[in-house]
């Protein structure tokens, strides 16, 4: 596990950081680049790990870490509630609190030598992107890479620079939107059905899935029909969290805490847990 960082050695007290970059991804998703107030990197997360992000006087919530650089981390955050609304009104230079990283991570080492199929829906590409970037950085270790991603509309597709410029040069992209619209000549339809249409071979291939609960549910079913073994289907879960350190009690599924034991699970691990996702 990578080292946890916080303030005053108290895991519930955030590091004082600042926003050093804000990218508008969609009408309701922005990517926030975060650095410690002293210019250092808050911490070095593993792909798939989480950060507790806060604004003083507003609140605190858990987000996946989308990317990282030498002296920053990034989170792509959808505007859905009180804190995210305030984050979306923030400016570069604003103070922001961060503690983490939390949770397990994608099994980047165990995936070496395999073909990888990433399946994402909406903001669900955000947690998966940390692994895609890791894999692209270490491309020789992995086989063929496919990204199948969909959103409600073209405007709602996140990371467009990656989807349409960077990634097509390095991996296979399969982009879909839910309903036809003017100017879109790509695929139209929901992610799970597009997935079955593409008929990816399960042979030596692992699949990493993240998106809205309903998309995950149907995608997992589709992948099983396509012959993927449960051990080769990996997803990352979201639950409400307050502490991030396995104490506050609310992110449990059965005896597992998503903040500590998750958020990443294989389908065979998920099958061991009660159906409360």
């Amino acid at each position: 596990m990578s080292d946890h960082n916080c303030c005053n050695n108290n895991p519930l007290v955030p590091l004082q950081c600042k926003l050093i970059g804000i990218t508008e991804e969609t009408p309701d998703v922005k990517t926030f680049r975060i650095q410690c107030a002293d210019g250092s990197k808050p911490f070095t997360p593993l792909p798939g790990q989480l950060a507790m992000i806060s604004l003083a006087g507003i609140g605190e919530a858990m987000f996946s870490i989308t990317a990282q650089g030498d002296d920053w981390i990034e989170s792509a955050i959808k505007r859905v509630g009180l804190l995210t609304e305030a984050l979306h009104s923030a400016d570069i230079g604003d103070a922001i609190g961060v503690r983490g990283p939390y949770g397990n991570s994608f099994p980047a080492d165990a995936l070496k030598g395999k073909d990888l199929l990433f399946v994402g829906g909406g903001i669900g590409l955000a947690p998966v992107r940390s692994l895609i970037l890791h894999v692209l950085k270490n491309k020789a270790d992995y086989g063929e890479i496919d990204v199948l991603y969909g959103s409600r509309s073209y405007a709602d597709l996140v990371f467009k620079a990656d989807l349409f410029e960077n990634w097509p040069k390095q991996l296979n992209t399969h982009i879909t939107i839910d309903a036809a619209e003017d100017g879109w000549d790509g695929h139209v339809g929901f992610v799970p059905s597009y997935l079955e249409e593409k008929a990816f071979s399960p042979k030596n291939r692992a699949c990493i899935v993240c998106g809205p609960p309903i998309m995950i549910k149907f995608s997992l079913e589709a992948l099983e029909r396509m012959g993927f073994a449960k051990e080769n289907i990996i997803t990352t879960l979201e639950m409400r969290m307050k502490c991030g350190i396995g104490k506050c009690g609310r992110c449990n599924i059965g005896s597992k805490y998503i903040c500590l034991d998750g958020p990443v699970f294989t389908l065979s691990e998920l099958d061991e847990l009660p159906d409360e996702k």
Binding site: N8, L12, G57, T84, G249, N252
Partner: protein
């Protein structure tokens, strides 16, 4: 281990000796207000008079280690400066019943184990000495500690054990740990202890009348019944009021929220309850436990299965408070019994 005698007439002096360099919590008040409060050192005799050692307190002593509300840190809204509360000093809880003492071991599991150590909790816990009081009589018809691995005279987790003598005039005192022995020295210096004689004996401890048949494999049995329609029926009468978890000595779920005062944002930790409708609802509206059925099932499975899987202990000590106080008759003993029949 030798036993000493503490005469009830020496109790004011014993408490005064503790108050010299400890915060001392003891049961005070009556009925609904019977709870552990911090004794003031002003008047030793008055203080001792306020102590009410009869019966089980309505409110458990968990708030001494895990306050119902506490500031985790403050942050200056202008300068971003972080301030953390002063740590508490040496603390004694006096007169804790064996079930409540055992509940502290459960809190320890959650706040100290499995990865992270909770800073505020560990600081209070290390500074805490527990003076337990064995039950001479049954505290309530809802008590069932001896079905849950404890007992009315169990000393598990105590630093000092007090057992009332048959004549009711004194306590036999056992000093069980290094923390307990430090208090023994303090009391020796204050000359509040005497040597017991052969007549100073404790009567046999009472036996709980409520017997709950808790099978060894209760977690597995309940997990196998995850989709049983019984959960729906059980939850029908629940009001979702949260009384059970507020008075429970082992419930530890908390909320963290922000309050702004005096140019500072205070990050507060408060008791929470898994039966509340917004407990696990996420921004955006998705709730993995959307109705009372899922919430009640999660509450009982957490107590009787999940915690056991994680920490090897049941998250219920059989104090019976929730059974006595639930306004609609939801009864954990029934759930355990039902689990046993599966």
């Amino acid at each position: 281990m030798t036993q000493k005698l503490l005469l009830k007439s020496a109790l004011p002096a014993a408490l005064t000796a503790l108050l010299a360099d400890h915060a001392v919590f003891a049961p005070t008040g009556e009925a609904e207000r019977h709870a552990f409060t911090c004794l003031s050192s002003a008047e030793a005799s008055e203080t001792a008079d306020a102590v009410n050692l009869d019966g089980l307190t309505t409110i458990s002593p968990k708030e001494i280690l895990f306050p119902r509300s506490e500031t985790l840190y403050g942050i200056g809204l202008e300068n971003g400066e972080i301030s953390t509360p002063e740590p508490t000093g040496p603390t004694v809880i006096f007169g804790v019943r064996p079930c409540d003492v055992r509940s502290i071991a459960n809190l320890d599991c959650s706040f100290l184990e499995k990865g992270f150590v909770d800073t505020a909790y560990v600081q209070r816990r290390e500074n805490l000495t527990i003076i337990a009081l064995a039950c001479k009589e049954l505290q309530s018809p809802a008590c069932f500690c001896d079905s849950m691995g404890g007992g009315p005279a169990s000393a598990e987790g105590a630093d000092i054990m007090l057992t009332e003598t048959a004549d009711g005039k004194a306590f036999l005192v056992s000093f069980l740990t290094a923390k307990g022995e430090a208090i023994e020295k303090l009391w020796e210096t204050a000359s509040v202890l005497t040597e017991p004689n052969s007549a100073d004996t404790a009567p046999p401890p009472p036996v709980c009348t409520l017997k709950v048949d808790k099978p060894q494999d209760l977690p597995a049995k309940l997990m196998a019944a995850f989709d049983d329609p019984a959960w729906e029926r059980l939850s029908e009468s629940c009001l979702g009021c949260g009384t059970c978890s507020y008075i429970c000595p082992t419930c530890y779920c908390f909320d963290i929220d922000t309050e702004i005062s005096g140019g500072k944002a205070e990050q507060l930790r408060c008791w929470d309850c898994c039966m509340f409708s917004d407990y696990s609802r996420m921004a955006g509206g998705h709730d993995p436990r959307p109705t009372k059925k899922e919430r009640l099932r999660n509450r009982f499975l957490h107590k009787l299965a999940y915690f056991d899987e994680r920490h090897g202990r049941t998250l219920c000590v059989g104090c019976g408070r929730c059974i006595a106080k639930c306004p609609s008759g939801v009864d954990i003993a029934h759930v355990i019994e039902w689990g046993g029949t599966l």
